[in-house]
Each structure stands twice: as C-alpha cells, then as structure tokens.
C-alpha cells in the first residue's frame, strides 16, 4: 500500500480583523508554512469570495492540496458551505479540520499576549497532528424492508397503522386478543367530546380493511425478534381461532347450538357462549372458539355453520415477518384493585373499577335482558374514589394522569343517563389539566356532584339497606361524614399491560422503574432504547386516548426512516480492531443502545443500523481498540501529544479539557462569548460524549506532562446517550489504580457536570481546579 503523504492547506481566516488583533497571524503563518505536510499556509481576509474558492478548488484538483485545516470561527452553516465547495472537486468532506481559536479564549484581552500566541500555536499544532491522520469516509447504504410491525392493535396501533398504510408502507398488526380495539373499545365514552369511541375506531378500521397494505394478526404474539433496524425478522405465533376468517360472516347460527356458557369479563356484563364474536371489538368479524371451555367431543358449531367456517381442528401457526421497524403499542392494564384492600374491591358487588364503570355505562347500549348484577337506573347515590392505588408508594407511586378526567367524564355521561343521581367524588387533587378543566367545571355546574377532598378510610356494606356505608373525614368542615352509596367506583391507575411486559422480554427493550418502556421522554420520546424500535401510546407512560394517538403517530413518523427500503449509515461509526480485541464484551454490556452483536468469529461488532455513534464503546474499551471513524483514539492521542505543556509558563498548570460537544463544550464557549474571565490554562478538545473518553487517553495525556484533565459531561440523567456521564465516572476507579502505578495523583483527573448554559459554573470549576493543581504542584512528567 502506497504511503500517502498529506498535503495540507492551512488557512487562517482573519474574521474581519478580529483574530489579527488578538494574535500575530503573520508569525503563525510563518511558523506553520514550514510545518510538516503543510502544502500552503496563509491567512485570509476575504474568505467568502468566489475567486478564493476557485483558486483553492483548482489547487485541490491539481493535487496540490488534499486536505484542509481551517483556523477561525466557522458556523455549522459555513462549514457545510466550505465542504460543499470542494466536494465537487473530489475532496471527501471528512478531510476538513477546524480550529476555533476564539472558543479557546485567544481573543480574551485579559490574557497575556505571549500566552495567547503560544496557546494559538499549540492549538493549530494539535489540529495539524490530527489532520494528518484524517481518512476519507463515505456513508453506507444498507438494504432494508419497507414493512413495519405494530405490536398491539389498540387505538394507538390502529391509528399508526392507518397513517403508515396511507403512506404505502406495509403494516403488520399483531394483536393477542381475538379482536382489535384494545382498552378504548371497552370505554363507553371518551373525552373531551364525550362521544362513543366505537365511532372513531370503526372509522379507522374501515380504512384499514380497505387498504392493501395492512395485515391483521389476531390471537398472535411476537415470539422473537432478530436482525437490526431496517432488517428485522419477527417470529409471530398465532393461536387457532377455529373459525375461518375468510368464510365466517358472523351470522350467529353457532350461538344457538353452543351448549357452553362462560362468564363475561366483568360483573356488569352478561355471560357469553364458548363460541362468540371477537373481543373487545368484533373485528375481524369472524367468531372465535374458546376451545379450552368446550365440552370434549362437542362439535355442534362445526355442524351447524352454514358457511362451513368452523374448523375445530385448526392448529397454531407461525409467521416470519421481515420488517424495517417495530412500533410497540401494547398499552396498559388496570392496576389490580384487589390489592388496594381498604376499599373492599372484590368483596362487594357494588364496588367496581373505573373500567367496569365504563362497561356499566355502555350496558344500556347492549341487548337487554341479559343478567346484569347492576342496573344504571337503580343508582341514585354514587361515589368515586380517585387515586385508588395511585400516587401511593405501596401501589403505583405515579399519577396515571387520566383517572381524574375519566371520572369526570363518567359523571357527565352518567348524569345524562340518570339525571337525578347524586355523585360524590373523593379525591386528593383533581388533575384535569389543560382543557380537561372544562370537564371539572361542567361536573361542578351540575350542582349535585359533590367533591370531598379526602379518600375514605373504610367502606362497609349496610346489609339492611343494601348500601355502602362510606365514612370520610371532611377536612374542610373538620367533621366526619358518613354516606350511604349505591355504588362506589374506584379510579384505578394504569400500569404496563401484560403485553408490554411480555414484549419487553421478547424484544429485550429496557423498561423504566415503573416497568413502562424506557424513553428519553424529552428529546426523542417516541424511541425505545433500541434503534428501530419505537414505542407509542400508554405503554410508554400513562396517556389519555388523544395523547396515545398523538404519540403513536409521532412514533410512526420516526419509524419511517427505517421503512425507506434502505438505511443510510453515517460513516462515523465505531470500528473494533479485531486483531487486538480480547472479546471481553465490555462494549456489548455498556452500549446504551445494545448495538453490539457478535460477528461470525464471536467478536463484538456494532450493528450499524442500531448504533447511534456516541462513542461510549470507544471510551469503555479496556484495550482501547474501538474507535469511531473520524474520531479515533489515535487521532486523539496525536492531538494530545501536540499540546504545548508549557504554554502557560513555568508556574501555571496546563489543563486538558475533554468536553462533551453537546453541553459542556457549549458552556465553555458561552463563557468566552459572555466575556467571563475564563482562565487561559485549559486546552479544550471536543468529544462526542464524555463517555467516549478512554482511560488510556487520559493516562497518556498525564504521562505527557499535562497537569490536569477535566472531563465535562452532561448532568447524569440528561445525557443524550442515556448514560455517558455515568459510564465515565464509573471507570474512574480503574483509572485511579492505573494512575497510582504511574505515580500520578488520581486528583489530576476531574469530572464535572455541565449543562449547556453553565458558563459561570465552567469558569468557577476551572478556577478551583487551577487552584487545586497549583497546590498539588506541576505534573512530575512535565519537562
């Protein structure tokens, strides 16, 4: 292989005279003209002229320059412009290096000119060293599927499916129940417009059933997911329905012969036959047989079916689905209220959950005459206990955010059905946020809805009256109030559904401490912590229906990038040097996005489609054999090697600040921009994440005589890559051991959390550190 000798064009942009006022640019130009590999070195007053770029372009074309080092402050827009100017001439955009002297305090007038000059020279020297090692890089394109797997056909899944199928994407909707609709199909009404959710669901289903791009997999579960974003392979197991989805037209003939009655799901709902219409919504319309309830040998339904749709010999089947992305909309379950013992759920028939109340409220829309234990018209005094099990450290410590509005909605609708009924709401805080306040107001306007700010301590059944005797201490009147209620509705909270838990296991998707799917919540809430896997609706956090739909749409939007048929990979991904790797798997364990997989020789290798290129693997690797392209350990090492450790003179310590480019670096830059007295001692190197700083780099720097290392990362729970800051701190133990063997004080490495606008804190931290380092004395390795 031919050894390439770099021909570097060094251009110092005077920024309209701003730099030349601060340092002697002539001197710098003179110095670096003679530098190794420097093809040209000059300072430019008029940078943004066509003539300038034309002349350089021809220099590139004539192979006089094959890479650039730009000194000056360039905005990201200007960088993109400059890269564009030369890409036509065949120069790879990764062969540019940028040095912003201003960010490093070169223009601060309080600093002695000779220090500024020395620091500027050192910074250019460093960049030059790195520049020599730059490699041309090109993005990768991976072939990908254009299908999506949506797990959970509730309201969120259905709406996402509708949007995606309308965009021409193939949608696989997997639902474990016999029918779609999920929890929303169980509701009598939804707010804020208090209309029947079946209306909206039917509307969506109509569109989905007309689409050529949607496949419904009911009675199905995802058993395994392999592959990577753009190219997942999902194994979907389907339970037998025992009724052909194509033949059955739901005539109901089978119901007349089915001998087996099985209980309905709720105390307020009727019983049903073992063969019945799908649940929660009768979509697909084909009936389903609950075979485990059938009397053995009974095949009555099969015999009578006029369409010959029943097939009791149906066997489970498995599908392999190739999809580009996965959207999880597995929703929520009601917290088991029997655990909230004080409210007597399960002991008395007239204590029901809010979800059961929804059933009760829609009971009048069903066929009459079925056995119902409760009848709406008998309810004259109804109590609602809010936060039943929610915001309770013993049960659900969080607020489910929908129960208040749900109760208010139930009251509004209930009062529509039974106007003379009186309602009592026992609550701690009514959290009907936003426009949902209207529901609260309307409920109060009704006049006989009374709000008591206390949850009852006990509930007893008055057997003579058949009423529930509820006692609360009314804090407003400071009196104990007892009431006789016909019904008590417990507003139970939302917890992650069974499906959510199962899916988390199958997909190995992290869950938060409440067992909902982990999400950044702020910057990219729709992404699960596995690239290409998205979460929508209330499997991420408690949401109401409209928020769920909203959320699933946003997730679908994000998922689109893996449904394009190809996946574009930025070339700055990590590369494992497999000749040196000892397969310790630290990278696999610590990668915040679990992107590492084994290659065919059992070496860990990043799945490029999943990788977010944060560089934490590079930081964690004990052997320092993982590097991000364009940001290699070697490049960092030569850069550090080029630091002039005595630019501050004999007494002042020199600090190497390795700052996260997202927050800490911007804080340092803001300190300069705000004109704060930033001490000149620090030389800053931007890193992609604090977690990408390898201990080897630090040890190297210290062995070169740099007096102190400052690592700046985001606040622990604010890291863009989830846990970069934590990881680098976790490694500090290893590092101090290593430093001790090198006879270097571990205190020469300091970690600091900096938020993006922590300019003052940065200066303060730097000053304290300088003070401490002075006390410690110079680095023994300092020449």
């Amino acid at each position: 292989m031919e050894k390439i000798v770099p021909k570097i064009g060094i251009f110092i942009w005077n920024q309209g005279g701003r730099l030349s006022q601060a340092v002697d640019l002539e001197g710098l130009v003179k110095k670096f003209s003679k530098a190794k590999n420097a093809a040209r070195c000059e300072f430019v007053d008029e940078l943004w002229t066509t003539a300038f770029f034309d002349s350089l372009r021809s220099a590139v074309e004539n192979k006089q320059i094959d890479r650039f080092l730009w000194v000056g402050r360039f905005t990201s827009y200007q960088m993109k412009y400059i890269k564009g100017q030369f890409s036509a001439a065949g120069l790879n955009p990764y062969l540019h290096e940028w040095v912003d002297l201003e960010d490093q305090g070169i223009c601060l007038k309080d600093t002695a000119p000779e220090i500024r000059a020395a620091k500027a020279a050192s910074l250019i020297q460093m960049a030059l060293a790195r520049n020599r090692l730059l490699e041309p890089l090109n993005p990768m394109e991976l072939p990908a599927s254009d299908a999506i797997l949506i797990i959970g056909a509730g309201v969120a899944g259905l709406h996402a499916a509708e949007s995606l199928s309308a965009l021409g994407k193939q949608v696989h909707l997997v639902e474990k129940e016999s029918g779609v609709g999920g929890k929303v199909a169980l509701l009598s009404r939804f707010y804020p417009r208090i209309c029947d959710p079946h209306c909206g669901l039917e509307f969506t289903l109509q569109k989905l059933s007309e689409s050529d791009h949607v496949a419904f997999h009911t009675l199905s579960r995802v058993e395994a997911l392999s592959g990577s974003p753009g190219n997942y392979m999902a194994a979907v197991q389907k339970k037998p329905r025992y009724v052909s989805e194509t033949k059955c037209n739901a005539c109901g003939e089978c119901l007349t012969v089915c001998p087996k009655e099985i209980p309905g799901a709720f105390p307020v709902s009727e019983t049903m036959k073992a063969i019945h219409s799908p649940f929660p919504m009768s979509f697909p319309s084909a009936f389903v047989v609950e075979r485990e309830h059938c009397p053995p040998e009974c095949r009555e339904c099969e015999k009578i079916c006029p369409a010959k749709a029943v097939d009791l010999n149906q066997a489970p089947s498995e599908d392999q689905l190739r999809v580009g992305a996965v959207l999880i909309t597995t929703g929520w379950d009601l917290y088991p209220l029997s655990k909230v013992e004080e409210y007597g759920y399960g002991r008395f028939d007239n204590i029901i959950s809010n979800l059961e109340m929804e059933q009760l409220l829609s009971s009048h829309t069903r066929q009459p005459g079925k056995s119902a234990k409760l009848s709406l018209n008998d309810l004259k005094e109804v109590g609602f206990i809010q936060c039943a099990g929610s915001r309770d450290e013993r049960h659900l410590p969080y607020c489910s955010s929908v129960c208040c509005s749900a109760t208010l909605k139930q009251i509004l609708y209930f009062k529509e059905l039974v106007p003379e009924a009186k309602c009592y709401v026992f609550y701690q805080h009514i959290r009907s946020s936003g426009f949902e306040e209207d529901l609260y107001r309307k409920a109060r306007e009704m006049g006989d809805v009374t709000f008591v700010r206390e949850r009852p301590a006990t509930v007893a059944l008055d057997e003579q009256k058949g009423k529930l005797n509820v006692t609360v201490l009314d804090p407003l009147l400071d009196k104990e109030i007892t009431m006789d209620l016909d019904l008590l509705v417990l507003a139970g909270g939302m917890c992650p559904s069974q499906g959510t838990r199962e899916t988390a296991q199958v997909l190995k998707l992290p869950q938060n401490h409440y067992q909902f799917f982990e999400s950044h919540l702020q910057c990219h809430p729709e992404e699960g912590q596995r690239t290409g896997i998205y979460v929508g609706g209330s499997c991420r956090e408690p949401m109401n229906v409209s928020q769920s739909i909203d959320s699933s749409h946003r997730s679908a939007m994000q998922a689109l990038k893996y449904l394009a048929g190809t996946v574009l990979i930025e070339p700055t991904y990590p590369v494992v040097n497999k000749t040196k790797c000892d397969q310790c798997k630290r990278c696999m364990e610590e990668c915040p996005f679990s992107s590492f997989v084994f290659d065919e020789k059992e070496f860990p290798t990043p799945d490029l489609a999943r990788c977010r290129q944060c560089g934490n693997c590079m930081g964690i690797c004990p052997l320092a054999v993982i590097s991000l392209n364009n940001n290699t350990i070697k490049q960092m090492a030569v850069q550090i090697e080029a630091v002039n450790t005595s630019f501050m003179g004999k007494k002042e310590p020199v600090i190497l600040a390795l700052l996260c480019e997202n927050d800490a670096y911007k804080a340092a830059r803001a300190a300069v921009d705000q004109g704060l007295p930033v001490p000149p001692n620090a030389i800053i190197i931007k890193v992609s994440c604090a977690g990408s700083v390898n201990n080897a780099v630090i040890a190297d720097a210290l062995s070169l005589g740099i007096d102190g290392i400052l690592i700046g990362g985001c606040k622990d729970d604010q890291c863009h890559y989830v846990k970069g800051s934590q990881l680098v701190q976790k490694r500090s133990g290893d590092l101090s051991d290593k430093l001790k063997t090198m006879m270097i004080e571990p205190e020469r490495v300091r970690f600091v959390n900096l938020e993006i606008r922590d300019a003052n804190k940065y200066v303060e931290v730097l000053n304290t550190y300088i003070h401490d380092l002075k006390a410690m004395g110079p680095n023994p390795f300092k020449i």
């Binding site: 009186k422 009514i430 609260y440 107001r441 109060r444 306007e445 009704m446 006049g447 006989d448 809805v449 009374t450 709000f451 008591v452 700010r453 009314d474 407003l476 009147l477 400071d478 009196k479 104990e480 109030i481 007892t482 009431m483 006789d484």
Partner: protein, 585 residues
C-alpha cells in the same frame, strides 16, 4: 234660609272641632313611645318656638319660595307628571276661584267688585268656567285612577270620596243653574219683584223675550214669536239687563237648560231648583265638615308639610318638632301614589301581596300605629314586612309632592315596632344597613336589643345537633340545594372548588383572631356545606348572619361563585322556614 244657616254652622262646628282634634294629634301622638321628655306640652312649645324663630329669620324667604313654587305652582307635581299637574291645578285652581268668587261672594266678590252680580258677565261666565276647570280636573283624576293602569297604584274609598264629593258639588251646581234658567217659577218671582207694573201685553212680550233669549221655559207661552213682540220685550228687558247677562254665557248651565227644556215645566213644578240647591249646599257643607278627616285635609296640611320640609333638618331640628312633624306629615299625604309608582322594591308586591310594601299604603298603617290603637300581631307583621323590604333608596321621599320625609317615617316606624318587641329577622340583613347608619340617632341600647332578639330567634331555631363531629345522612337536606338551584346566582354554589379565596377576602373573617371559633363556618366552608346539603349547620353558623354583603368574596372568586348571593339565598331559606313555622311572629 234658616236650614241653610243651621247646617252651615253645624258644618263649621264639626270642621273646627275636627281641625282642632287633628292638630292636637300632631302634638299628642308619636311613633315612638311617648316619654316624659317628649310630652305634648313641650312639643307645642317647641313648635311655637320653631315657627317664631323661622318666621323671624331669613328662612322666611325659603318659605316664600316654597309658597310660590311648591304650593301655588306645584312644581313638585309638575316635575313628576304633566298630566297630574294639570289635573291638580284644574281642580285646585278652579275650586279655589269658585270658593272665593262664588261661595264667598258676599265677603269677597261683593267687596272687590261693586257691581258684582253672579248673573252678570264676566262673573256668570267665570263661574261656569271655573266649574268646568274642576270638572275637567276630576275627569283627569278619574281617567288616571281608572283607565291609566299605573302599576301598583291603589285607589282607596277615600280617593273615591274626594272625587265624588267634588263631582256632586260641581254637577249639582251646574244642574241647579240649568234648572234655574228654565224655571218659570223663578221668572215669575223676578217679574213680581221687578216688573210688577207692566201691562199684560208688556209682560207677555218680556216673557216671550226670555223664552226666546234666556232659555226660560214657560207654562203657557210658546214660540215662535213675532219680531215686534220681541222688540217690545227687549225694551222692557232694559231694566233686567242691569242684573242679567244673557244665560248663554253660563255655558254649562245653559247647556243643561237646553237639555232639560222639554221636561222643564214639570221639573220646575216639582221644585227641582230648590231640591238641587239643597243638594249643592249640603254637599259643600258635608265636604267642609268632613274635610279634617278626609284626604282633602291636605289642602291645609300639605302646604304646612312642604314648608316644614323646606326649613327642617332631621339632624339639627328639635326632636320634639321632628316627632310633631312626622305625625303632621301623615295627614298631609294625599294618597297620590307617587311614592308607590317610584318605589324601587314596589315590584316585590307582585310576588308578596302585602300592601304595606307600597309606601302610599304603608302610610295608612303607620297612621294606625301612631294613633296608639291596638293592632293585631298579624297586622304588625305585615307592616314590619313592608317596612323591611324597603331599601332606603330615598326615591319616595324625593318625589313626594307634599314634601313628606318618608324615609324618616319608615325608620321611625321600624324602630317603633322593634321597640314594641316584635323580633324582625330582616334586621340581620343588609336591608338594615340604613339602621346601622342611623345607629347614633337610635342609641346603642335600643340599637342592639332587636338585633339580639333576632339572633336569638335564629339560634333557637337552628341548633346544630351535629354532636361528636359526625355528619350522617339525616343531617343532609337535598331540598336546600334544590332551592338554591332555582336562581341563576345562587346555583353557582356548586362551582366552588374550595380554593378559599372567599375566606381570605372576607373582612368579617379578618375581624376575628380565631374566625372559626367566632363564626362557626367561614365562607368557603359554607359553600362546601351547601354542596353537602348541611342546612342546619349553615344556618346556625354566625358567619351567615354576620356577612356585610360587601361582595368581596364574590368579586374575587376565580370560579364565578356568587358567594354573597348564595349567602342571601341561604338566609332567605332560613328565615322562610322560621316564618312558615311561627305565624304569630
């Protein structure tokens, strides 16, 4: 004539006695119990002193102004209503002129006009003209009372009497005049006295002329008459002309004469003129005798009241005189209804049919009260209710055409009833704000006692039987909420979300170091207790009754709860229950 004189003297005697009696009541009666300090003697002395001091001071100018503007020109009535001004001016002007020119002709007209003859022009014309004025005024009065449908304007028997007596006098006068014009008997009498010497032919000519031109109806003679006969009659009539203008000038009487002409002879023979004459003067004498007891007494008292109103001041005037004036004012009332039509709470009468709500009707009740007669408890309750529904807006006082200080009258009447020991729950309402303002005039002792009585009434009725701090279903009254929901304002109680802003804003709450101990419930608790239907708990809370009605809570409520209005409604409910239970309150 003997009968005339006797009846005149009787009428005058009754009038005089009545007048004296009435005036004496001004000094004897009072609304508040008479004490040694305010004895009749002292009141007479004080009145005399007051009159003398006023007359001999610059205030005399004020009195003159009142005399011209308010008494003679009736500007107060003019401001109130043009129609009524015309009505009053026609009746009062016409009648006064008739009184002076006609009734008192011997003393007034004859003295002033040496050639006065009632049958001569212009007097013959003026008499009818003045009479017509009165009749026109009466017509307006009848129109106003019967046809104008003024809301809540009450017409009493006394109003009927006044119209009737005047109408009888006027109509009988015109009829008498007409009858006399046609009367052959009267003609014969005159001929006998003045034209005795004439020949048969001459007398016939004269008679013809009188039939033709004076409207007389003869028994024998009938027209048409020849011109020479009439010419002769005219010659003979030269001497009559000195006393008799042509009767056409008495246009009313002449009209009557023409109307009754066909039956005139018979009527004349039946003695109609004499009969009408009796009616006419007897009606006048009845009116005169009854005047001190009728609403016509205002002819005398009205001007006095107006003058007293102009020079007296409730703050500075002698309390004796104020008491005296109040009783006098009761006599000044003409029951014109100005106060009632303008009363700002008069509309309540449509809902609560208690006439004592209407100021003009209350006067009668207060007269009874002042007279010291025994009044039934029920009547007292009715008066009290009427008095307390008053908002003291002062409109009635402002519009009274005879200058009665109605405002002050109501206050005195209220106090009089309260001091009689009739507990009044309204005293706990802002409707007694005026009483609070008048606290210094009432005196601390007398001020507080009725309030305590009313509070006791409430606390006796509403005792919170919520012992041991437990409220059960039996304490809760859903009808309470139902009643509150009947009005838009009070139905807002349920909007409350217990932010407690009302309580923080309440000046009453801030008046106490430990408000909950002092007041029972504070405003936000009352709203909450209302939502729970805890009527007795609310009614027994002192807060409800201590509310000043300043509306701060309501102003600051972020949810638009009409806190103060809810309080009012709650109080109404509480009071209604007490009233319904105890009819003898």
């Amino acid at each position: 004539m003997m009968f005339f004189d006797i009846s005149l003297y009787i009428a005058l005697t009754i009038f005089t006695i009545g007048l004296l009696y009435k005036v004496s009541t001004w000094f004897r009666c009072s609304l508040l119990p008479t004490t040694a300090e305010i004895s009749p003697g002292k009141r007479v002395a004080a009145a005399a002193k007051g009159i003398v001091l006023t007359v001999f001071s610059l205030k005399i100018l004020t009195l003159l102004k009142v005399l011209v503007l308010e008494i003679l020109l009736q500007v107060r009535t003019l401001k109130e209503s043009r129609l009524r001004w015309w009505m009053h001016t026609l009746i009062y002007g016409g009648f006064m002129l008739l009184l002076l020119m006609h009734a008192l002709e011997k003393t007034v007209s004859k003295t002033l006009f040496s050639h006065y003859y009632s049958t001569l022009n212009p007097f013959i014309f003026l008499r009818d003209f003045f009479g017509l004025m009165v009749l026109a005024g009466l017509g307006l009065a009848i129109y106003r009372r019967l046809f104008m449908k003024i809301p809540r304007l009450k017409t009493s028997p006394m109003d009927h009497y006044a119209v009737i007596i005047l109408a009888v006098i006027m109509v009988s006068g015109f009829l008498l005049e007409g009858a006399k014009i046609t009367s052959y008997t009267r003609y014969q009498e005159m001929v006998e006295v003045y034209a005795d010497a004439g020949s048969e032919e001459e007398l016939k000519a004269l008679e013809s002329l009188w039939i033709k031109e004076y409207g007389m109806v003869s028994t024998g003679l009938k027209g048409p008459f020849e011109e020479n006969v009439l010419e002769k009659g005219r010659e003979l009539n030269e001497s009559c002309i000195a006393c008799h203008s042509r009767p056409q000038w008495a246009f009313m009487g002449y009209g009557v004469a023409k109307a009754i002409a066909p039956a005139a002879t018979a009527l004349d023979k039946a003695g109609l003129p004499t009969f009408l004459w009796y009616i006419h003067f007897l009606a006048c004498f009845i009116g005169l005798a009854y005047l001190p007891f009728s609403k016509m007494f205002h002819i005398i008292v009205g001007p006095l009241s107006l003058m007293a109103n102009a020079v007296m001041d409730p703050e500075t005037s002698d309390p004796h005189n104020i008491t005296t004036r109040q009783i006098m004012e009761l006599d000044a009332c003409t029951h014109c209804g100005s106060c009632t039509t303008r009363c700002s709470v008069g509309i309540v009468f449509e809902e609560i049919p208690n006439v004592n709500i209407l100021p003009s009707e209350k006067i009668a009740a207060i007269k009874n009260l002042a007279s010291g007669r025994n009044i039934s408890r029920q009547d007292i309750r009715s008066i009290q209710e009427g008095l307390y529904l008053c908002t003291n807006c002062l409109r009635c006082t402002g519009v009274c055409p005879v200058g009665i200080n109605l405002q002050h009258l109501w206050l005195s009447a209220r106090e009089a009833l309260l001091q009689k020991g009739c507990p009044e729950l309204m005293i706990l309402s802002p409707l007694s704000l005026y009483r609070g303002l008048m606290q210094s005039a009432i005196g601390p002792q007398r001020y507080q006692q009725p309030i305590d009585a009313a509070k006791k009434l409430i606390s006796d009725e509403y005792q919170t039987d919520i012992q041991d701090n437990t409220i059960n279903t039996s304490h809760r009254d859903d009808t309470l909420k139902h009643r509150l929901r009947l009005s838009h304002q009070s139905s807002t109680f349920s909007f409350c979300y217990n932010c407690k802003t009302c309580t923080s804003a309440c000046p009453v709450v801030h008046n106490y170091e430990r408000p909950r101990d002092a007041l029972g419930l504070v405003p936000h608790q009352i709203m909450h207790a209302t939502a729970l239907g805890l009527g007795d708990l609310i009614f027994s809370s002192k807060m409800l009754w201590a509310c000043l009605g300043c509306y701060r809570c309501q102003d600051q409520c972020p949810q638009g709860v009409h806190v103060t209005d809810v309080f009012y409604e709650l109080k109404n409910i509480a009071i209604k229950k007490i009233k319904d239970q105890t009819t003898d309150l």
